[in-house]
Amino acid sequence: MKTFKLDITKEHCPMTFVKTKLELEKLSKGDILEVVLKEGEPLENVPKTVIEQGNKVLEIKNIQDDIYLVKIEKG
């Protein structure tokens, strides 16, 4: 089990969840992906779409102002 990081704070729709999905595809089951993203559209959509695709969201935490860290376990 490894932990990976992905920063999508500079991305916009649809690249926020496109990049997340492409990154998750590279991982093995059980690996952790920590996605750093902005509130609003990314925070609303990224966790929702990764869950729909059979992954687990372990934690969502506010790390500064409008920036969040979403911890995903690849399913």
């Binding site: 500079k10 991305e11 916009h12 729709c13 649809p14 690249m15 969840f17 496109v18 997340t20 999905k21 492409l22 779409t49 729909e52 695709q53």
Partner: protein, 159 residues
């Protein structure tokens, strides 16, 4: 997975802005696990030509002239305010500056997410082109019947 959602996009237009719309929806849908088919017909074929710049490809003088005038991926005009091809370049710069995915990035994302690309048999015939004139990711050249067959049970968008 019989219950997988599906969307099929017909790109009839070779306009820069419309191609962006089509590829934004396609890559977004593929990222949220839709089956995505894209059908390129007529001017839309310019987006998936292998040679990205103006080039006189095709069979016959008239077809070659048409293909040269239409150009490829790098010559897509903006549907309004094109200013002889200047606007699409300005728009791409603006998109880069604002960190919005450019058309090239969207197309690459769509390909990486296994969006199915198909080219229309009839328009290819008119323009005297062959499968080899298109990017290798184009899966097949097909007609209406196959298109209907592939898009059955899903949404269809015509852009």
């Amino acid at each position: 997975m019989a219950d997988k959602k599906k969307i099929s996009i017909v790109l009839f237009s070779g306009d820069f802005d419309k191609a962006i719309a089509a590829f934004t929806i396609a890559s977004g849908a593929a990222a949220v696990n839709y089956d995505v088919n894209m059908f390129f017909t007529f001017w839309g074929l310019n987006v998936i030509k292998k040679i990205k710049h103006r080039n006189a490809i095709g069979k016959g003088l008239l077809a070659r002239t048409f293909n040269f005038l239409m150009g490829g991926f790098k010559n897509l005009p903006l549907s309004r305010l094109n200013f002889a091809g200047l606007s699409p370049k300005l728009m791409t710069n603006l998109m880069r500056k604002r960190n919005v995915a450019t058309l090239e990035e969207l197309i690459n994302a769509a390909i990486q997410l296994n969006v199915n690309l198909y080219a229309c048999e009839m328009s290819i015939n008119i323009l005297g082109l062959k499968k080899d004139d298109f990017i290798p990711e184009v899966k097949e050249i097909l007609g209406v019947a196959k298109f209907l067959n592939l898009s059955e049970g899903g949404e269809i968008l015509f852009i």
